[in-house]
Subunit: 318 residues, 2 copies
């Protein structure tokens, strides 16, 4: 086994929650050995522009340009274009900063020119000098649709426009059946020394990635090296509406609830000390439980969790 710093890591990631851990990993390992497979179920077309929120959050975070107070968007951003768009009667519930718009225009332009989402993502991360590979889960559109008491909503409409107020009755990944993993995704899982499931929403960040045919199977095949970091601590989401959505779907907003969703492809399940009491029940699912502080408010906490994860070997356990 190579030393911890030389491990090849592949991470599955959503947006804001994942980016905390990714930043830690990026800073404590050789970032050239890190590959990130990102949820694109949140992608949406607005005003004809193709917007990939999670790809951009991950890229901006690792590029060091993210607005770290919000966790998304660009630091010091202005919103002159958005204000005018509203003046033209266009929807302005989705925040689009002036600098951020360039990313969407560039991506939309590349797609119009016949390039793939993967190629656009690589162009953007390269231009922003991010040293890790950033792969969309798929080059095919797989919009996450929320079936709710207000009808079927695109995930961004549910999250941003309706501020998670509708009651969730179901989640669909439209078109997933016929989608393919983006080039390099299955290989990145196969070739990694460790696969880390970031502390992202299991339903609408990791869930869409798992719904792409072939990815869940590949994780199962390589289960011994798959570690998951639980995004629920003390019954609450580390970030976003995971807890509420779990409850509305009849699942437990608890580490154990997430563990059940991941048990078929995960060998080590990392929980926070706050959830120590669930260790036995999680172990009973066939996973090893590792207890580590997973709340990452500071840069030091991000690095610390990253280092701890890199030091785990498949045989590590409570």
């Amino acid at each position: 086994m190579p030393p911890a710093k030389k491990l090849k890591i592949t991470a599955l990631a959503g947006g804001v929650g994942a980016s905390k851990l990714l930043l830690g990993l990026y800073e404590v390992m050789d970032p050239g050995l890190l590959t990130i497979i990102v949820n694109t179920g949140d992608d949406i077309a607005l005003h004809g522009l193709k917007i990939s929120p999670d790809l951009d959050i991950v890229t901006y975070t690792l590029a060091g340009v993210v607005d770290s107070a919000k966790g998304w968007g660009i630091r010091g951003e202005t919103f002159h274009a958005l204000k005018r768009l509203a003046g033209y009667g266009r929807a302005n519930w989705f925040n689009l900063g002036d600098r951020d718009l360039a990313t969407h225009i560039h991506r939309t332009g590349m797609l119009a020119e016949g390039k793939t989402l993967s190629q656009a993502a690589d162009s953007i991360r390269t231009a922003l000098r991010v040293k890790s590979r950033i792969l969309p889960m798929s080059d095919d559109p797989i919009p996450t649709m929320i079936d709710s008491n207000e009808g079927s909503l695109h995930f961004q409409e549910y999250l941003v426009k309706r501020r998670t107020e509708p009651v969730v009755r179901g989640i669909r990944f439209a078109g997933a059946e016929s989608a393919r993993p983006a080039p390099g995704v299955l290989e990145a899982i196969r070739d990694a020394d460790r696969v880390i499931i970031c502390p992202s929403n299991p339903l609408i960040s990791i869930g869409p990635i798992l719904a792409v045919p072939g990815i869940r199977e590949q994780l199962r095949t390589h289960k011994e090296k798959v570690f998951a970091v639980c995004p629920i601590v003390g019954g609450k989401s580390l970030k976003g509406p995971s807890d509420k959505m779990l409850v509305q779907l009849g699942l437990k907003p608890a580490a154990l609830g997430v563990a059940k969703l991941y048990a078929d492809f995960t060998s080590i399940f990392v929980i926070d000390p706050a959830d120590k009491s669930q260790s036995a029940a999680i172990s009973a699912l066939g996973m090893k439980v590792v207890i580590l502080p997973t709340v990452m408010k500071t840069r030091a906490q991000k690095r610390k969790l990253a280092r701890a994860l890199l030091s785990l070997s498949p045989s590590s356990a409570l």
Copy 2:
């Protein structure tokens, strides 16, 4: 005949040069009686965005938001998105401000949603509270192509990217044969009390409008009410590369040269006192010559020329 202030005016216009006179007209007449038919030969798609420079210059000018020092773009504009686009390796020779981008995104969005360029132009001028109708010459794309010693260039490449340095050998309005005037264009010429040809480049601002099948014929039919303001004064363009282009195409960079291009559909040809000596030769083309100061540097000069034009009757002459 209605009083001068109640005349229905239809103007044919390019961008910056025309907008000076249009602003004068807008301020001295009932702007609701003004219809402007605008050149769209300069339109270009960049990064997937549909850009209509002359429509925007006219609209921004009449809305009072134009950067009046430059004559185009929006006052107090920022260029954060453009800088990032350049960072992504995108062409940045065409200036796109952050606020201005909203116009292009909105127009591109409307076209993608199945609307016409006319509908987009009307949406934009209405949102910016411009009281005059602004019509594109056509809803069909008719790109102005410059045949030069550097090959065939889109007009914006010739003008902006190559800064008018290539030697012009010919001008083509690609697709004009099969284009149709935008809805309302022929009617606006028919129903006006006066049609004013603004002091725009006769080759690449007014020329494209005249190339749309039906427009030149309609002007000829209504020749008695068509007045043209000469854009060349003392052998120089009031604005832009008209003089140089005329010479390279073997035409005279003089009022007389422009007069020859317009003689078949114009009854009154307005020249500056500087070109008084050409009056007889222009008259010999069958037009009446009216001498008025046509250099418009100040708001007062714009209003003064506008008032003088409105006071002309088809029988006015030197």
